[in-house]
């Protein structure tokens, strides 16, 4: 298929960016979206132009590096996938595709489609861990039985890949789905409950400091999340915060 791409080009964080049109031809429906971008970049390099910068690494939907806002949706039109898992069969010959970076004040653009998500790391530094030394002298792994439902729900929350689609898609640029998932994982496990109160307070404080917006229960984050992280995690985080604050 032949496509027109409208892509956000921005030299660096301090330079003003703009949308630029490109054409790609003979794109196979079996290609992944990023393979289509590879074709474009190879074309640009061979014609002496600068390729489009974008973040990507594992290309199997787990590292959370890729981050494109395609036709107004985080990770594009498919559900339950990252940009690297999106396939061209979702598009038709002759389509015009608009490609932008994540848009959020807390995620400044580095170049073109690559943004700086270090705010997520700083929220984790504030409390995204259990204070246990890696001495190897902890108790036996089976010493504390954990209810299967609790372990499974913790796993569902822990599945978050930290890509930032939730922030990009939220009209308030809220990071509450991301933070809620991390808070939930630990709050659901006995190992994490010891520090639960401090953890939720510190992580939420850092989240606010980074300039993420608040949650107004629109639910767009849950819809666009490639890993299906549930809104219940936000509710759980709010309950944990309430418990910690009274």
């Amino acid at each position: 298929m032949n496509l027109t791409l409208k892509i956000w080009r921005q030299k660096d964080a301090s330079t003003k960016g703009k949308m630029v049109d490109y054409k790609v031809t003979e794109i196979s429906e079996h290609m992944s979206f990023l393979e289509m971008m590879d074709v474009l970049n190879e074309q640009l390099v061979n014609s002496g132009e600068e390729p489009v910068a974008f973040d990507h690494d594992c290309r199997e939907g787990i590292c959370g590096m890729c981050s494109m806002y395609i036709n107004g949706e985080a990770h594009g039109p498919d559900r339950g996938v990252t940009t690297c898992q999106l396939h061209m069969r979702m598009f038709k010959d002759g389509d015009t595709i608009t490609i932008e970076p994540w848009r959020a004040a807390a995620f400044p653009v580095i170049k073109d489609l690559a943004v700086d998500r270090s705010a997520f790391d700083r929220i984790q530094h504030a409390g995204g861990y259990i204070s246990v030394n890696t001495s190897g002298n902890t108790q036996d792994a089976n010493a504390i039985p954990i209810k299967k439902e609790a372990a499974d729900t913790a796993m569902d929350a822990a599945t978050c890949i930290g890509c930032g689609a939730c922030v990009a898609t939220c009209k308030n640029s809220s990071a509450m789905l991301f933070v809620g998932a991390k808070v939930s994982q630990y709050a659901l496990l006995p190992q994490g409950q010891v520090e639960a109160a401090d953890r939720v307070k510190n992580m939420v404080a850092q989240m606010d400091l980074e300039g993420f917006g608040n949650c107004t229960n629109t639910g767009a984050c849950e819809v666009e999340c490639p890993k299906g992280i549930s809104l219940e995690n936000i509710a759980r985080m709010n309950r944990e915060l309430m418990k910690a604050s009274v």
Binding site: M65, Q85, Q124, T134
Partner: protein, 665 residues
């Protein structure tokens, strides 16, 4: 220089304990004055950074990704082995040790493997304490599954995302230390050289991938934890950025590179679909617990299936060839990876491949649906269930176990694997070879260590499933933190290492010159053009089976390609900005050297062992034929061009395991 593995004396089961009892320690107050650089933040680098920082060292950690959490360990799916014997099925430290040495085709170092098996149980305890949500049974205890090449269930897992959960555990341990200021994290940074001062590794030259700035970083020791070099094949299951550069730079500065030809070609990956393909996707080995691998028995059926005139589900049981069950009745679909991959290639080469390219076999879950469904119907008290009901119940169980893998397959291939069997084919996945290290995990450069997939030590010629995560975390959490202390005990009076020295100056100059060459060359071919050509040579001539003639051709072709690269490569943009092509050019330049050494190593190893299969050396049944005279580690010393590399041999002795023909029949 003669190789000294520094394996402690004494009975194998006491070696590690005795070693720890007698090494030098660094007083906590002195650790504050010692700096350690860790390159890479996957399971090995992340766990090492966290532990070293907890102990009190000042750690500087480097990752080329935008966060340590994105290192490619995250993509490991199936699980992590540990000799916990929670299932009471006869597992023990010795058995894990035995399976790993046998699985590695008797080409790994006994003492290292035993230590790995010994600390494996601690890893699980540690991860649970960190909040890693491993799968549990209804009684609340940890669940296990089986992997290839073993007869027990010792694999712990978190759905099909075990690597992700373990890496997030190590990342959380790092976060705690970053918050305390004990780890200084350098994201989007790439190590471009190691700096040697007075014969010791004392720092690195790194490039900030966002600004292009070249930086000097000093330390009392340098740890390479940068993973494997599977991307030398262009197409592999590795991440796009995975590279050999850190390992190759230390090799060029004096670290021997061991067994480069030992590569793992993983049997269950999604087949390639076209020339545009940028990477291959693995389907976890855990699927072989419940999936059965087959091709049609008759070539007529193959033809009809390829033409779309017949569906695989239409073939009756006796029209199918479950070739692994046929050839290896004892292990069946759970034979080790090298054996399963070669068997798939054998069937496809004979014309039985089931897709248009002729390079695919089926992985079928239909009989698991029936088995689990029948059991569930009993559990739920459903009398005389219909076939449809049984299938539905069975699918629910399979979905709970492998749901994300089935979803991944469907998204890529656009076929529903619950209704039609998956198609799979082997792909490059892991490299057992790597930087040579002694028992302390130190390379032949004093003060330079290599851990995880970056080193060569534990998996011999073939790695068993769920052992990569085990080795990464064992090295980082429990081995290196002890062994490095023994070395650093001599550095308590050294003080801060200055970066304003001729050694740093010279290393930085070399790095700058190379980068300037790339951005100014403006040749006619892109970096990917060369990477793809190299990948094709590697896959065709150094892939699942190799022969002398092919390897000799490969050496010449890679050497020619490298010359062409240095004349005609085209890198757009400048060196003072975010420039992915520039970063990639440096990585491909190193692959072009490694690739040739790889072929040379494969040529000189005139036997078949594990992932290294030489066509000239096979049994009548087509199995790998090992030779006693090759029972050694090939450690290569850099001497300029790869063709001039000098071979050093570390003999391998087996005192605790009888070296036998490796049979899974």
């Amino acid at each position: 220089m003669a190789l000294d593995s520094k394996v402690p004396k004494g009975p194998i089961k006491d070696k590690w304990t005795e070693y720890k009892n007698h090494i030098n320690l660094v007083n906590p107050a002195n650790k504050r004055h010692i700096d350690v650089i860790v390159v890479g933040t996957g399971l090995a680098g992340g766990s090492a950074s966290a532990t070293l920082a907890e102990l009190g060292y000042n750690v500087k950690a480097f990752a080329y990704q935008d966060s340590p959490r994105r290192a490619h360990s995250i993509a490991a799916q199936g699980g992590i082995n540990a000799a916990k014997n929670y299932q009471g099925d006869g597992d023990s430290t010795y058995r894990l040790f035995y399976d790993t040495v046998k699985g590695g085709d008797y080409r790994s170092r006994e003492a290292n493997v035993y230590r790995l098996a010994e600390v494996s149980a601690n890893i699980i305890d540690q991860c649970v304490a960190q909040g890693v949500p491993f799968a549990r049974d209804y009684g609340g205890l940890l669940d296990n599954r089986s992997f290839g090449g073993v007869l027990v269930s010792r694999t712990f897992y978190a759905k099909g995302q075990t690597g992700q959960q373990l890496l997030l555990g190590a990342y959380s341990a790092m976060n705690r230390q970053i918050a305390r200021g004990k780890i200084e994290m350098f994201n989007r940074h790439e190590m471009l050289d190691v700096v040697i001062v007075d014969g010791k590794a004392r720092g690195i030259i790194a490039r900030n991938l966002v600004t292009g700035e070249i930086e000097r970083h000093s330390a009392h020791a340098v740890v390479i934890a940068s993973g494997g070099y599977g991307n030398v094949y262009f197409l592999s299951t590795n991440a796009m950025g995975s590279n050999v550069t850190a390992g190759w730079k230390v090799h060029k500065k004096g670290a021997y590179f061991a067994n480069p030809c030992y590569t793992q070609i993983h049997p269950t990956c999604i087949p390639r679909s076209g020339d545009y393909q940028s990477k291959l996707t693995l389907m976890s080995e855990s699927l072989r617990n419940d999936g059965r691998i087959w091709v049609p028995k008759n070539l007529e059926d193959v033809k009809l299936i390829r033409e779309g005139k017949k569906k695989p589900t239409e073939l009756s049981e006796d029209e199918r060839d479950y070739y692994l069950e046929r050839r290896y009745p004892a292990f069946g679909n759970l034979v080790p990876r090298d054996v399963a991959s070669r068997a798939a290639k054998e069937r496809c080469d004979a014309g039985y491949g089931v897709n248009a390219t002729g390079e695919a076999v089926y992985l079928d879950f239909a009989s698991s649906f029936v088995r689990y469904g029948t059991e569930q119907a009993k559990v739920q008290g459903i009398k005389n269930p219909t076939d449809a009901k049984i299938k539905e119940l069975g699918q629910e169980i399979v979905k709970a176990k492998y749901g994300n893998l089935f979803q991944m397959y469907e998204k890529i291939v656009d076929e529903n694997p619950y209704e039609t069997p998956m198609m799979i084919y082997p792909a490059v996945h892991y490299t057992m070879g790597g930087v040579w290290v002694d028992y302390n995990l130190m390379t032949t450069i004093p003060g330079c260590y290599a851990i995880g997939e970056a080193n060569f030590s534990d998996h011999g010629a073939n790695r068993l499933g769920a052992s990569a995560l085990m080795q990464g975390l064992a090295d980082g959490y429990f081995v290196l933190p002890y062994t490095i202390g023994d070395y650093l005990a001599d550095d308590i009076r050294t003080g801060k290492i200055s970066t304003e020295t001729p050694e740093f100056e010279a290393a930085e100059k070399e790095v700058r010159e190379r980068i300037e060459f790339f951005v100014n060359n403006k040749g006619m071919h892109s970096v990917d053009y060369y990477h793809k050509k190299l990948g094709k040579i590697m896959w065709d001539k150094c892939g699942m089976s190799r022969n002398a003639e092919g390897l000799k051709t490969a050496i010449q072709e890679i050497s020619d390609l490298r010359k062409d690269f240095w004349q005609n490569v085209n890198v757009p943009g400048t060196d003072t900005e975010f420039n992915e092509q520039l970063a990639k050019a440096g990585r491909v330049a190193d692959f072009l050297e490694l690739g040739e050494l790889f072929a040379k190593d494969a040529l000189e190893r005139e036997e078949s062992a594990g992932g290294h299969f030489r066509e000239e050396h096979q049994t009548e049944e087509g199995e790998a034929k090992r030779l006693k005279e090759f029972q050694f580690v090939s450690a290569w010393e850099y001497k300029g061009e790869p063709k001039d590399a000098v071979l050093h041999k570390e003999p391998l002795e087996y005192e605790n395991i009888e070296v036998k023909e490796r049979s899974y029949k």
